[in-house]
């Protein structure tokens, strides 16, 4: 599964993209796994209300299932326009 990070999430974790093997069934479980890895993940994911998630390039929720998902992206609230 491809995990992408944008904006300050990318900066805190220190990379824009990584491939991971996971058995997580939901976004929340995936976040739990990532947080357990290293402090930089723990810091980046410490406040989920400050984060948004997209599954296969569609905005989604932290409860959403990961079944069939190939690309997960984490980023702060968007500031377009």
């Amino acid at each position: 599964m491809d995990i992408l990070y944008f904006a300050w999430v990318r900066e805190r974790i220190g990379l824009p993209k990584e491939k991971i093997e996971t058995k997580a069934e939901t976004v929340s479980q995936l976040v739990h796994e990532l947080r357990a890895r290293e402090e930089r993940y723990e810091v980046a994911f410490s406040d989920l209300s400050a984060l948004r998630v997209a599954l296969d390039q569609e905005l989604s929720d932290f409860d959403a299932p990961l079944t069939g998902v190939r690309e997960v992206a984490f980023f702060p609230p968007m500031t377009g326009g």
Partner: protein, 147 residues
């Protein structure tokens, strides 16, 4: 419908004329153009806009299609830049054409409200002494409740 996510500057005038010429049957044409401004501290050097290639185009297409479903519209144009911009540079524009001025205005406002907080762009402001990600504004989230 023309959607463009690009690093290069665009020419507002040329885009507006091309848009208007392409849609002669609609009496009302609205454009919105966003310009990099330096409201916060007066010392902005550069604004860097990051985006999510692939998702950005999808999100813009979805927003524009939804506008076309909700209002009586002719053509719709969305251009959004990414990369490094300086104060005074044009960041983005939208254009709408409709038989009715109310539809053209509302659809353009809808596009802007959704672009602000539902299209995957993130702005970082660089000044002489700092580099900060622009925080999303509550009022931009609230603006979506209108639609």
């Amino acid at each position: 419908m023309k959607i463009s996510v690009q690093k290069e500057p665009f020419d507002l005038g040329a885009e507006a004329n091309a848009f208007a010429d392409g849609d002669m049957s609609n009496g009302a044409i609205v454009t919105f153009t966003g310009v990099v401004r330096d409201l916060a501290h007066g010392d902005l050097d550069v604004m860097e806009i990051e985006h999510y290639p692939g998702m950005t185009e999808k999100a813009l297409n979805k927003i524009a299609s939804e506008a076309q479903e909700r209002w009586s519209l002719g053509d719709v144009l969305v251009i959004h830049r990414h990369g490094r911009l300086a104060p005074g540079d044009q960041i983005m524009m939208v254009a709408t054409a409709s038989p009715h001025r109310k539809d053209a205005f509302e659809a353009a406002e809808f596009l802007m409200d959704y672009l602000k907080s539902r299209a995957p762009f993130w702005k970082k402001e660089f000044t002489g002494k700092s580099a900060d990600w622009v925080a999303a504004k509550d009022e931009d989230e609230v603006a979506l409740n209108r639609w």
